[in-house]
């Protein structure tokens, strides 16, 4: 969900996604965790990809959110918000 959220701002590449997540306080995301997720997103057509030439080094694979990806982000965000609301209600001892 957080990866899809980073992509909502526009197309970007793997290392930039990992950096954005780290800057958001979500910890260091290793390539071994991030790319299998991005590959699954690609297989599920939540993102499209495009290789862009690198500047003196290897190229970069840019990921862009599709309409299906935006819907999935909205669905997961709503689920997460409902879950955190229920959990906070429970932790605060309130009745729903």
């Amino acid at each position: 969900m957080s990866v899809l959220k980073v992509l909502e701002a526009g197309p970007t590449y793997g290392y930039a996604i990992a950096t954005a997540l780290e800057e958001a306080g979500l910890g260091s995301i290793k390539g071994g965790t991030l790319y299998p997720l991005l590959t699954r997103f690609e297989s599920a057509e939540l993102v499209t990809t495009q290789w862009r030439a690198g500047d003196g080094g290897p190229g970069r694979k840019y990921f862009s959110l599709t309409d299906a990806g935006r819907s999935e982000l909205a669905r997961q965000t709503a689920e997460w918000q409902a879950f955190t609301t229920r959990t906070l209600t429970h932790l605060n001892g309130d009745t729903p």
């Binding site: 390539g31 071994g32 690198g54």
Partner: protein, 235 residues
């Protein structure tokens, strides 16, 4: 950049594992380029960023179903070996002006080699990672080869005599045919395809790879040609 030997070895193991799983050339090229790109950006080692190459390769789920059939070059390679095993004694006999003699050993050797090749192809990654498997298969092949060579003497098998020129011609045609078939199989197979724009601008591997791919189908024919020249010079 993936300049260190460790990273290169990691990438080789990674590509081998994906190939072993039957992942297509485009997906392999894309996954390999993604690793190289990430390493160039992060400055991390491959092991540090992605962990074990085998585990990482197994974690990737591609849209296309992996193809687990035997590689298409296997059949022409077997045909080439069959041709070569019969061409060499035949052309040696031609050079000496004698008929060629077969005992059935050649067929036994061919069967041993054929089965070995299929086993090796099906278990290539295990063989690369665990050298004793390769040693075990090699010892089995050599052992069976020696046994097949000694059997005619031990059992006093009758020899089949044939016209050396005819056998050399037929098996020579088989060798050249196997070369063309191998080339067609290589052309039809994808290999590892690097996505456009993904390669580094100073990529130097392309030329060597192209020469190796161009030469590979003709290695047995080239070997046979060299042997032929040697046989006639020695006669």
């Amino acid at each position: 950049m993936t300049d260190t030997k460790k990273d290169q070895q990691w990438l080789t193991d990674f590509v081998l594992e994906l190939s072993h799983r039957g992942v297509g050339g485009r997906d392999i090229g894309d996954a390999k380029a993604s690793v190289e790109s990430h390493l160039a950006d992060s400055g991390e080692s491959a092991e540090e960023a992605f962990g074990s190459p085998v585990d990482y390769a197994q974690a990737l789920e591609f849209a296309d179903t992996p193809d687990e059939s035997l590689p298409p070059v296997l059949l022409p390679a077997l045909l080439g070996i069959f041709g070569l095993m019969h061409y060499l004694p035949a052309i040696a006999a031609v050079a000496q002006g004698q008929p060629v003699r077969f005992t059935g050993t050649e067929f036994a050797l061919f069967l041993v080699l054929g089965v070995s090749m299929v086993l090796i192809v099906k278990n290539i990654f295990r063989l690369v990672k665990q050298w004793w498997w390769l040693l075990a298969i090699w010892m089995a092949v050599v052992g069976l080869g020696i046994l097949a060579s000694l059997l005619p003497l031990l059992l006093d098998l009758p020899e089949l005599e044939a016209n050396a020129g005819a056998v050399a011609t037929i098996t020579g045609v088989l060798l050249v045919g196997a070369g063309f078939w191998t080339r067609a199989a290589i052309n039809n197979s994808e290999g590892v395809i690097t996505p456009p724009n993904a390669a580094s601008t100073d990529d130097k591997d392309g030329a060597v790879e192209r020469v190796m791919v161009a030469l590979a189908p003709w290695l047995m024919a080239i070997g046979a040609a060299i042997f032929t020249v040697g046989a006639f010079l020695a006669a």
